[in-house]
């Protein structure tokens, strides 16, 4: 294993005095000016592959020129694949003024990928060979899809990345100036990202040039530049793209690409990055792994004493955490000092635990529609239960606060989406008087920090940052189980082998006439079995873990809407124990 750490300390870093970025085309031009500074490092075997900023810029220019020459201007172009240098080149080549990059989630099922490709009107698809069959199927059946390009090189009927780049470079050498002439208007859509829809298919969030660069500039102004970062989350996730990849390219922080999730700990030691952008699941995993290892080595008691000592010294302004807990930091490559966490609510226990061991944890609050960050808590040690102060360029308003100051969080600013793709109804429902209604409840504390208190919408947010709309699953269940008259999907907790876990449960009110003489137990068994088939067609994170059968129709409002809260109150406890007569495990 290559242990020698590359030294990037001599590379220039973005400073707050530098002028703000205006669009992604300008970012590509700035990369050109960063010259031989390293922008991205990949790994092949145990070797590092270095990509300079200048090379990245030139590759983007060649690919954008090639796309332009193929007539793919002002089109939606989908991007699907694993994290890589080439993924970044493809994204920038599309979003630097050529068209709109449709960012597809590689964890989706084939049916969902097909639906999003169709719904986004994508004229072209860039994908890795992992998704070759998806590409072939869509090229044949999707009437909008004109071109398919492979991000990695594979000998097949579709042009690959290297061929496109070679052709683009030839055009440039012949004097093609189309890249230089590309115009990025601030309101031009740059990215289209699907988020869970409240009804039927998912909603496509449009993010303009202005939206994306607003967040990039804010990150650059509020986070001190580090020498290197590691890209762990999928790049199609707005949190990874616009809190890590794009701002770090701009800030001249070297991006190290984690090739596979299973190699993460190895790669932290291999690349020795100084920061990472993560979701709460990682903080939990890091924390649990550290203590598991310490217990195994018989060091847990000693570390607990050291933490008490370190905490008392910290109160006096003496910080010896990284020296005291050197053994822990060696496990993470010795350089990792900053973890920016967002995408889902984070348990303060893990933030506190890792902070005590010497990691700086910033907790962000945001959503795809806010490109994504609206507030960032950089003081998690003193404000563990807050999501921080709103960013200066984001207006935040607590709508209709109750006597405790708690109300719905509304946002306005350059980072806020203009709306959903081809969905005027959803757009109108989400905005009021120019404010975006987040659906989150919160209140402003006296020191200007925002505290979140709950959600207005019934969105289920998992600790890996994935969002699940109950209505979406309810619609799938109703469509596939014809005997279901009413269904409510909700988040609940269950003890699984002694550990309390968040799970997704479905409460079904069924038409017993269709079961012709079957006992309640037999009906339950049938529903449980059928739910396995429903789950088989869903992405893993959306699967329904528990099925409960309601004895009577659900309580409704005057407008005939199910009162979800009442269903949860009545059935939530039932899912706690394995002995409930109404329960069936899916």
């Amino acid at each position: 294993m290559m242990r020698v750490r590359a030294d990037f300390s001599s590379q220039r870093r973005k400073t707050t005095s530098d002028s703000a970025l205006h669009d992604l085309h300008e970012l590509v031009l700035r990369l050109q000016s960063y010259g031989s500074d390293i922008a991205v490092i990949e790994k092949t075997g145990e070797q590092k592959i270095f990509h300079t900023a200048e090379k990245l810029s030139c590759d983007v220019e060649a690919l954008a020129t090639q796309l332009h020459s193929r007539g793919l201007c002002n089109c939606n172009i989908a991007l699907l694949g694993e994290n890589s240098y080439r993924w970044i080149v493809c994204f920038l080549a599309i979003a630097c003024g050529v068209g709109t990059a449709v960012l597809l989630d590689k964890e989706l099922t084939d049916a969902e990928l097909d639906a999003q490709l169709l719904k986004s009107d994508s004229a072209a698809l860039f994908c890795t060979s992992t998704f070759y069959e998806t590409a072939v199927r869509n090229k044949k059946e999707n009437p909008h899809l004109q071109d398919v390009f492979l991000i990695d090189d594979k000998d097949c009927e579709f042009p690959d990345f290297s061929q496109l780049l070679t052709s683009g470079k030839k055009l440039l050498s012949k004097g093609d100036r189309s890249f230089a002439q590309l115009q990025c208007l601030s309101q031009t859509p740059a990215a289209l990202i699907f988020t869970s829809g409240t009804t039927g298919p998912n909603k496509g969030v449009l993010l303009t040039q202005k939206n994306l660069v607003s967040n990039i500039n804010t990150i650059a102004q509020n986070v001190s530049a580090k020498e290197s970062t590691i890209s762990v989350l999928p790049m199609n996730h707005i949190y990874e793209l616009n809190c890590n990849i794009l701002p770090m390219l701009y800030m001249q922080t070297v991006i190290c690409i984690n090739d596979r999730m299973r190699n993460l700990m190895h790669n932290l030691r291999f690349f020795q990055p100084q920061m990472a952008v993560v979701v709460p699941l990682f903080l939990e995993s890091f924390y649990n792994n550290i203590w598991q290892k310490l217990r195994k080595d018989g060091l847990d008691v000693r570390f607990e004493r050291s933490i008490a000592l370190s905490n008392s010294l910290l109160e006096k302004g003496i910080d010896i955490r990284r020296t005291l807990f050197r053994r822990v930091h060696e496990y993470f490559g010795n350089e990792l000092s900053l973890l920016i966490c967002g995408g889902a609510p984070v348990d303060a226990k893990y933030v506190k635990g890792l902070t005590e061991l010497g990691f700086d944890i910033f907790v962000g609050y945001g959503l795809t529609e806010a490109s994504p960050i609206a507030a960032l808590n950089k003081e998690t040690r003193t404000h563990p239960d807050s999501v921080g102060k709103p960013f200066p360029n984001v207006s935040l308003h607590i709508h209709a606060p109750d006597p405790d100051g708690e109300g719905e969080v509304w946002l306005r600013g350059d980072n806020i989406t203009p709306g959903y793709y081809n969905d005027i109804t959803a757009t109108n429902e989400s905005f009021e008087d120019g404010w975006f209604k987040t659906g989150d409840y919160g209140k402003m504390l006296s020191d200007g920090y925002l505290q979140l208190t709950g959600r207005k919408k019934d969105l289920i947010i998992l600790n890996n940052g994935k969002n699940v709309h109950p209505e979406e699953l309810e619609s799938v269940i109703r469509a596939q189980l014809p005997y279901v008259l009413e269904v409510v999907v909700m988040e609940t907790e269950k003890m699984i082998f002694g550990v309390c876990q968040k799970i997704i449960a479905a409460v079904l009110y069924v038409d017993t006439d269709l079961f012709d003489g079957m006992t309640a137990e037999q009906i339950r068994q049938k529903a449980k079995c059928d739910m396995q088939n429903v789950n088989a067609k869903l992405p893993g994170y959306k699967t329904v873990s528990h099925v409960l059968i309601a004895e009577e129709s659900f309580e409704k409002t005057s407008t005939n809407k199910i009162v979800r809260r009442k269903v949860k109150e009545r059935y939530c406890d039932c899912s706690q124990g394995d002995q409930s007569p109404q329960e069936g495990r899916a």
Binding site: K106, I496, F497, A536, G540, S545, A586
Partner: protein, 74 residues
């Protein structure tokens, strides 16, 4: 095959082996999250000498799915 796989799974999630069957779902019943699944896949690869791609892993939901994948890969 199934006994070997159950041994790997049972050791990994520290549960009684008799509680694990082909129908046992990895996420819902064993409570594995996406990072746990990645680690379990590595253990299975070592035990059986087969490759489980990240894409394939997103489609493996039960112990039975895992068995079928190993059988097809061998």
């Amino acid at each position: 095959m199934i006994e070997r796989l159950i041994a790997v799974v049972g050791e990994y999630v520290s549960v009684d082996r008799k509680d694990i069957t082909e129908e046992t779902s990895l996420r819902q019943e064993l409570g594995l999250n996406s990072l746990d699944l990645v680690n379990l896949a590595v253990s299975v690869e070592h035990e059986f000498g087969v490759e489980i791609s990240d894409r394939k892993l997103t489609m493996i939901k039960t112990v039975g799915d895992m068995i079928r994948h190993i059988e097809n890969a061998e």
